[in-house]
């Protein structure tokens, strides 16, 4: 498969702490790529660098689109070449980029993202949240909006249609006019994904989409992500701690630890990969391996433990005069 996103030698540091050291991976077009790793491994930092919230110290991030290749790092944080110091346009662009941060250019290039902690516009309705996301797609000229020209009304109607279509697909149609802040948590997470989709991206970056969801909601989410990949021509990059979700839906897994890619490959290959197990569990090999270091925990295989005898339990008696059996959920 052709790569959609190529990340090469991405490095980033906060003061003296190296958050990312030469991170290299590719995201194949039309595939689901998962980034996993223990807490503090630098997963979210990768996202922040990709979407322009952080200026990476070094590295290349390239997005392949039909129109051509876009160098995201250069687009977001332009760097001056020596010959640009006499070019007023380049200087102006630099000054403008320095002021604006340029994250909006990433969205224009076709990358949308969600956040680890839900960031909705809580005092606005669900539909308004989705309309804000389509800011770059609607008619923004002041006079057109105040006079309500035909083009403006058509653009607004189209934006509403798009928003309603996504809501319908995610089963949130009935909540269209509710305030985003008053939705239950699972729906807020879903709304954040819909909002990212409304920016009309080619690459959707999800930062821990299953955090805080119950198993049923996680199931629905994974079905949804698969559907986006299969029917909506989207490429998905996700960070996740829920290994079930990652193993079930992803096509490719990148494992990060201490800001470095320690392994990457198919989910099945990652499950037994020694480096991955070491990062997660602190052991080099899954079972009774000859560990090299002295600090590693002794892992006893479950099968070698003596069986625990079942505790005798008191019999469960329901007094029909006390218990309200009808009221219990099945």
């Amino acid at each position: 498969m052709t790569p959609l996103l190529t990340v090469r030698d991405l490095s980033m540091h906060f003061g003296g702490v190296a958050a990312l050291q030469g991170v290299t991976f590719t995201v194949a077009r039309g595939a689901i790529t998962a980034i996993i790793g223990p807490n503090g491994a630098g997963k979210t930092t990768v996202f922040n660098c990709l979407t322009g919230f952080y200026a990476a110290a070094a590295g290349v991030v390239r997005l392949q689109r039909e129109e051509g290749e876009i160098d995201l790092m250069r687009a977001v944080h332009p760097t001056l070449q020596p010959r640009d110091y006499l070019n007023p346009r380049a200087l102006a662009r630099q000054a403008y980029g320095w002021m604006t941060g340029g994250t909006h250019k990433v969205v224009r290039a076709g990358v949308a993202r969600t956040f680890q902690n839900v960031r909705l516009f809580r005092d606005m309705t669900v539909l308004e949240n989705l309309l804000v996301a389509q800011h770059r797609l609607v008619e923004r000229r002041l006079w057109a909006g105040i006079l309500r020209t035909r083009e403006y009304l058509a653009a607004e109607a189209a934006a509403l249609d798009r928003a309603v279509a996504w809501l319908e697909l995610f089963g949130m149609f009935e909540d269209a006019n509710r305030l985003a802040g008053e939705l239950p948590y699972g729906q807020q997470r879903r709304l954040e994904i819909i909002r990212a989709l409304c920016t009309d991206p080619v690459l959707l970056c999800l930062d821990e989409p299953a955090a805080g969801l119950n198993p049923r909601e996680t199931q629905a989410l994974s079905r949804m992500i698969l559907r986006l990949r299969d029917h909506h021509d989207l490429t998905i990059l996700l960070i996740e701690h829920d290994m079930n979700l990652v193993m079930n839906i992803s096509d490719h897994v990148v494992v990060l630890d201490h800001g470095e890619v320690i392994a990457s490959g198919t989910p099945a290959a990652m499950q037994g990969h020694p480096a991955v197990l070491e990062a997660y569990l602190g052991v080099a090999e899954p079972v009774d391996g000859a560990s090299g270091g002295g600090l590693r925990e002794e892992v006893v295989p479950v099968s070698s433990l003596p069986p625990v005898p079942p505790k005798p339990r008191p019999p469960l008696i329901i007094d029909p005069s006390v218990a309200d059996i009808e009221a219990c959920p099945p």
């Binding site: 979407t51 919230f53 002021m99 604006t100 941060g101 994250t103 909006h104 990433v106 969205v107 224009r108 949308a112 993202r113 956040f115 960031r119 909705l120 516009f121 809580r122 005092d123 606005m124 309705t125 539909l127 308004e128 949240n129 309309l131 804000v132 996301a133 800011h135 770059r136 609607v138 008619e139 923004r140 002041l142 909006g145 105040i146 309500r148 509403l160 249609d161 309603v164 149609f173 269209a176 006019n177 305030l179 909002r195 990212a196 920016t199």
Partner: protein, 415 residues
């Protein structure tokens, strides 16, 4: 509530009043002896009893179908409609009443109304910055001053008339707004408030100390507006024709105030309409989104810098126009009109009216200014009463007089 329960409720309050008022007003000190006056506490208790009953009956009445709609409108809760706050004909009636006010108001009250409308304009401008974009601006009076001085200085040095000054000062103030916007782009909340406060003071001090240009504390005269090239003064300046000579009528000293009032009213109506549209436009939605979460905004492809600067510039331009009207109405500007207290008052108009609610801001501007005049009786305690009224307001209606209405869409399956 049933009738018996209502009676009981009213009786309880009446009894409580009786109990309290007996020692307070039941005994009267008369020379060296105390006389008991039973009728006063009894009247009081009776009044409370009847009043409670009436209030409860009114509440009951408002529950009834024909009046429920009215109560609905009085509630501050967000309602699920797309219906405009008032239908078109009600707007017409309101505007007509407002336009006929100069016919029967005295000059004094007409000037109060002009000031109230200026505050409404300023409130609508600040509402964009504070209510929609969520940028707490404590130096808004700076743009007001820029507008007023822009007109006074422009007429003195450049010969600008009132009508050219309106767009000119709007642009000038918008430029100032953008200039202020740049350094505060990365600030929020308290820090932003302090910086804008400083900006307001800088402008005032510049006006106060730039004696050669601005006249310092002595201020500057600002000419009266002209109407189709005709002057509204008793004696025209060089080359001008006064209105009353041209039409051969007797001179009416009120005319200046009346003209300013009418122009101001028309401008306010236009502004109200435009701000209402702006709120529902992409730019208005982006302002609100910026208030809610700047980072999320950036992740959705909104250029937060231009959006923020546009809020500052738009608010400042409206403030500048307010300043031009102020200078034209007063006929004179000096720095004491642009102190921090003015900023606080405009902010009070916005908060009291309801952040983000244009209708609320206009109502609050009228209430505050008229209250301010009515309270002149209590000269010394005016600000105290004013402050207490505000505290009570904020407890009673924490989201403002008329809280903001969200835009709801009638989405049906067969859309």
């Amino acid at each position: 509530m049933s009738i018996a329960a209502s009676l009981k409720h009213a009786a309880r309050w009446g009894g409580l009043t009786l109990l309290l008022s007996l020692p307070l007003s039941g005994w009267m000190l008369n020379g060296y002896q105390v006389t008991t006056t039973w009728h006063r506490p009894l009247w009081l208790a009776g009044g409370v009893f009847v009043g409670t009953l009436l209030a409860m009956a009114l509440a009951r009445l408002l529950e009834m179908p024909p009046l429920r709609k009215l109560r609905w409108r009085m509630q501050t809760k967000i309602t699920v409609t797309r219906r405009p706050a008032l239908p078109a004909w009600e707007w017409g009636v309101l505007l007509t009443i407002a336009a006929t006010l100069p016919l029967w108001l005295s000059t004094y009250w007409l000037n109060v109304m002009i000031l109230a409308l200026i505050y409404a304009v300023l409130g609508l401008g600040l509402n964009i910055v504070v209510g929609l974009a969520g940028l707490l601006d404590l130096g808004y009076v700076a743009f007001y001053a820029v507008g007023a001085y822009g007109y006074a200085l422009g007429s003195q040095y450049l010969g600008l008339g009132f009508w050219t000054a309106l767009p000119f000062c709007a642009l000038l103030a918008a430029t100032f707004g953008t200039v202020l916007g740049f350094p505060v782009l990365r600030m929020r909340g308290d820090y932003l408030a302090i910086v804008t406060l400083g900006f307001g003071e800088i402008i005032r001090l510049l006006l106060n100390n730039g004696t050669e240009i601005t006249g310092g504390p002595n201020g500057l005269p600002a000419p009266a507006p002209t109407l189709f090239g005709l002057e509204l003064t008793r004696v025209a300046g060089q080359g001008g024709t006064p209105w009353h000579t041209f039409f051969n009528v007797t001179y009416n000293p009120n005319l200046r105030a009346v003209v300013i009032y009418m122009v101001l009213l028309a401008f306010l109506a236009l502004l109200f309409f435009c701000v209402g549209r702006l709120q529902r436009m992409p730019i208005g939605r982006a302002w609100e989104a910026l208030r809610e979460d700047e980072i999320a905004c950036r992740s959705l492809g909104i250029n937060h810098v231009t959006v923020k600067l546009s809020a500052f510039a738009m608010g400042a331009a409206i403030g500048g126009i307010g300043g031009v009207f102020f200078a034209a109405a007063q006929g004179f500007v000096n720095p004491t009109s642009f102190t921090f207290f003015e900023s606080a008052l405009i902010l009070a108009v916005v908060v009291l009216g309801g952040l983000g609610s244009s209708g609320g801001v206009v109502v609050a501007a009228l209430v505050i200014n008229i209250l301010h005049e009515l309270l002149r009786e209590f000269s010394d305690y005016r600000v105290l009463v004013f402050g207490m009224a505000m505290v009570v307001m904020m407890i009673w209606r924490p989201r403002g007089l008329l809280s903001m209405r969200r835009q709801f869409f009638a989405v049906g399956k067969n859309l």
